[in-house]
Symmetry: C2
DNA sequence: CGATTGGCTTTACACTGTCAAGTTGAGTGA
DNA sequence: TCACTCAACTTGACAGTGTAAAGCCAATCG
């Protein structure tokens, strides 16, 4: 495998930059290649064409996602209120979707892909989420509660990415906090 | 060459078909043109390039969306239980996202576009949703409750489109019903 | 009748992903 | 030392894409 410089990793990083800077349509094999200083066909040689590179980028995206969730958790004191922990981690989820919209969209678009690395990275991030809402299950059906709280968070993230759905209401994080309280309370 | 029925509407309908049959990447100006039996540049002449055609298709999508929500409501007897109405309409929301995934994605991708027709179509659909959850606001903060129930529904729709997020758990509609009950109860 | 205009076609161009073939260069074995 | 190998690229070509400019042509209008 590539000892020298590790071009695949450089291509993934370049793709992430391109995604953040220019959005979804900026992610192109040839642009990544040009920015990485290699020939236009080099990326396709290391990944399985554009789809392969996209899942590789999405996988790295889930790892960054995990890192931000963990950071949000570790920023609180170890004896913090469980609800504050839950809120902090879920707000990190939502902030990620707003700050890295194109990447967030790519990640969840690529999720159906049956790629092992992608699955593992996504599951690792999901495990962090699970850890924080399990204390609130109570006597409710665990699967339903899990579905509820996760769909609430993801839905809020998806809808507040670029704009609110009903263009009048400004979706803000405090209204998410209220909604979360409704659910766990 | 279509004598009757204006070409723009035919192009939109062709685009919707193409989207349903071949997914997002099947939606192409040239393919739409070919299927509609016109030259490859005809679509760009009536809409503002591909972006314009996409928002036009998304707008029509929101109109179909509205129609399905209304149909779900009208399928119940007029004296039906409010929760059953709410559930039926929201399940229609979710079914739409599963049955017409590519269109659903396009609709919410194009939503940020500052297009008046698109806004109006999206708001009309949203109004139907609002009608059904307002009876359950109770003494809660209306905006937060609205956010909660709508984010829950949209999140569930988004996550169950192609796949479950944690690839193990099969997201099904009955778990959504439970989640909805948790929220409105 | 000639001019105009709107609907569409034709042509051209830059850009995309992908494939096949070529190049290069660092290792490897005898 | 000297071919040989083989993976990492490069080069070149091709079909498909959106878009812009120009052309065509029937209907309309003054």
């Amino acid at each position: 495998m590539p000892m020298r410089g590790d071009l695949p990793q450089l291509l993934i990083k370049t793709g992430l930059d391109l995604l953040d800077e220019e959005g979804t349509e900026g992610l192109t094999l040839r642009r990544i290649a040009a920015r990485a200083g290699v020939s236009h066909a080099a990326p396709a040689h290391h990944f399985n064409g554009l789809p392969g590179l996209r899942t590789a980028i999405a996988t790295q995206g889930f790892r960054s996602f995990l890192h931000e969730l963990v950071s949000a958790r570790d920023a609180l004191p170890p004896d913090a209120d469980p609800f504050l922990c839950l809120l902090a981690v879920n707000q990190a989820y939502i902030r990620f979707s707003r700050r890295r919209t194109a990447l967030f969209r790519l990640m969840f678009d690529q999720l159906p892909t049956e790629d092992n690395d992608l699955r593992q990275a996504a599951l690792a991030a999901y495990a962090i989420l699970q850890d924080h809402w399990t204390p609130f299950v109570g006597d409710r059906h665990p699967a339903s509660f899990e579905t509820a709280i996760w769909a609430l968070t993801h839905g809020f993230a998806a809808l507040s990415m670029d704009r609110p759905y009903p263009p009048d209401t400004p979706v803000n994080l405090s209204s998410y906090e209220d909604a979360l309280r409704l659910l766990v309370g």
